[in-house]
């Protein structure tokens, strides 16, 4: 196991201790529980509060996007495990600034059920809570079952859009509408070239044979749509972009935001090689890239692989994606 850790069962807590020591000006925790992370200046009064949550092992997702212009709080689970409803409730109570709370998180059973429980409990405390589920992974279900798709890197677009909208003073309805539109316009697909190692397990929980790749594999190793010999960067990129565009047609003069996201072990150099091809493919269609994010935005520990997300922009989304943001892991000026 090639890991720099102490006790596996302390992995998440020690990571969080390091995080709070590093960024005390930006984030803190509530309810005496390190897993309940909130903006240091929370509650921000008269702003719709935004919360997310999910398992650890995906940095900067989820907690890395808590900060000005993005989210207000995050409930943090064990590696690849949902946090508890209790923890979500504590975050919700602490960040509520009087204009309601919006939950934005990935469509995973455990997370959904816990957030639903938290919602019921928050409502008993007279906090209005809404939910927008991220379901951007086109590889996880066919279009007719799109509602069961997983949430992956596209959630960062959702955080960005919601954060900007809330920061501008919008109501809960308006923020919910903007992020819903953003997600309707967002598709992601990934490729894994290998597995990752859960600290508590010490060995990979799934396998991608050497020289093979798994197109569409999920960020916890959920099976993809195609296993086969490792293709070239151009072939992989083309297949991903085509799959996305078959699900969400793009037309001449459309504007998009693009994210080429590394899953953990894939060098930045390779992400730029992929981006080069994305740019070429979209240019061929007359689609222009208004803004691009290339780097590690949503990872799976040390998984080798990458994902590509495309968000179609209208005027509102374009203005929102351009707003500044400042979190421990995401700074846009």
């Amino acid at each position: 196991m090639k890991k720099i850790i102490n006790k596996p069962e302390e992995f998440v807590v020690e990571m969080l201790e390091g995080l709070y020591k590093a960024h005390p000006d930006l984030v803190t925790y509530t309810a005496d529980d390190l897993h309940c992370l909130v903006r240091s200046d929370s509650p921000v009064q008269n702003k719709v509060a935004l919360a997310t949550g999910g398992g650890s092992g995906h940095l900067p997702v989820f907690l890395g996007y808590v900060g000005k212009g993005m989210l207000d709080g995050c409930a943090i689970g064990d590696v690849f495990q949902s946090p508890s409803a209790d923890q979500m409730l504590e975050v919700t109570k602490r960040i509520h600034g009087g204009k309601g709370v919006l939950y934005i998180y990935g469509n995973y059973g455990g997370d959904v059920m816990n957030f639903d429980m938290a919602t019921e409990m928050a409502e008993m405390e007279d906090i209005e809570v809404r939910t927008v589920l991220v379901k951007d992974d086109v590889a996880s279900a066919t279009a007719d079952r799109a509602d069961t798709r997983r949430g992956v890197a596209g959630m960062v677009f959702a955080f960005k859009i919601a954060g900007a909208k809330a920061e501008l003073g919008a109501s809960l309805d308006e923020v919910e509408a903007a992020v819903t539109k953003a997600l309707n316009n967002t598709r992601t697909m990934g490729v894994a070239l290998g597995a990752c190692i859960l600290p508590a397990v010490g060995k990979p929980g799934f396998h991608v044979a050497d020289g093979e790749m798994e197109l569409g594999m999920g960020i916890h190793g959920e099976p993809g749509i195609k296993t086969g010999p490792l293709a070239t960067a151009d072939e992989i990129t083309s297949e991903i972009v085509e799959t996305i565009m078959a699900d969400m047609p793009l037309a001449k003069a459309d504007k998009v935001a693009v994210m080429v996201n590394g899953l953990g072990a894939t060098p930045l150099e390779e992400l730029y090689i992929m981006y080069r091809k994305v740019d070429e493919l979209l240019a061929q269609k007359g689609v222009s890239i208004h803004r691009q994010y290339i780097g590690e935005y949503a990872t799976s520990l040390e998984m080798p692989g990458a994902s590509i997300s495309i968000m179609k922009l209208d005027d509102e989304l374009e203005a929102l994606i351009d707003q500044p943001a400042n979190t421990p892991f995401f700074t846009q000026v």
Binding site: Q81, S82, M113, G205, P223
Partner: protein, 217 residues
């Protein structure tokens, strides 16, 4: 009359059975999910055991059960943890304020738990989840108790229904949760949630463990 200490004992036994099934559940989950079903079951079981040890059943069994559910969820918040918590909270709601229970109330609690799990998880019978073992078991138990059968007879009817339910979904495709993403490859595979529920019942009733598929023609 059933008392809190009885229920506590049953819950202890149930928790022990989850811990005993850890590896089996992990293995089944690895084939169609993320391989952690046994791990989270064990965590939850330990959580509830700690709760039971520290909190003897009090005069409000409903509240005590709801808190047991929250303890399970805190210890193992993932899918099964949320479902178990909901089940215990809904079962508790059935008997809120009571210190002693009639047999029939056990049946009602089981059915409430099943409905709670279905509402929480949005899975219907036939989606290939724990619901496919739990819901027929709850129905069988309630019917037997309404029929005047003893608790033990009713429970055995429940077990039989649970085993049949588990086996009835082996050949179909999982429609929900992580297994849904595995898609058609789940056909022919046993759902870990159904095994978990059947195994728990078998252990509580001191019955031999049955093989998944054993009730099939």
């Amino acid at each position: 009359m059933i008392r809190g200490t009885d229920i506590s004992k049953v819950l202890m036994t149930a928790a022990d059975s989850l811990i005993a099934m850890r590896d089996q559940l992990n293995e089944l989950d690895a084939a169609m999910g993320d391989g952690d079903c046994g791990l989270t079951a064990e965590k939850g079981a330990n959580g509830i055991k700690t709760y039971l040890a520290q909190n003897p059943a009090d005069n409000n069994l409903g509240k005590w059960l709801a808190k047991a559910g929250m303890a399970y969820n805190k210890a193992a918040p993932s899918t099964m943890g949320a479902l178990m918590a909901t089940a215990l909270m809904r079962a508790g709601k059935e008997v809120m304020g009571k210190a002693e229970l009639e047999d029939i109330e056990i049946g009602k609690m089981l059915k409430a738990a099943s409905i709670g799990i279905q509402e929480r998880g949005k899975a219907k019978v036939g989606d290939k989840t724990i619901v496919d073992a739990l819901d027929p078991a709850a129905d069988a138990m309630l019917a037997a108790l309404e029929n005047g059968d003893s608790l033990e007879t009713a429970a055995k009817a429940a077990l039989l229904a649970a085993q049949k339910g588990r086996d009835s979904v082996i050949e179909i495709r999982s429609m929900i949760g992580r297994a849904n993403w595995v898609g058609d490859k789940t056909k022919g595979k046993v759902d870990p949630g159904t095994v978990l529920f059947v195994g728990m019942l078998e252990h509580i009733l001191n019955q031999p463990s049955s093989q998944p598929g054993s009730t099939l023609a």
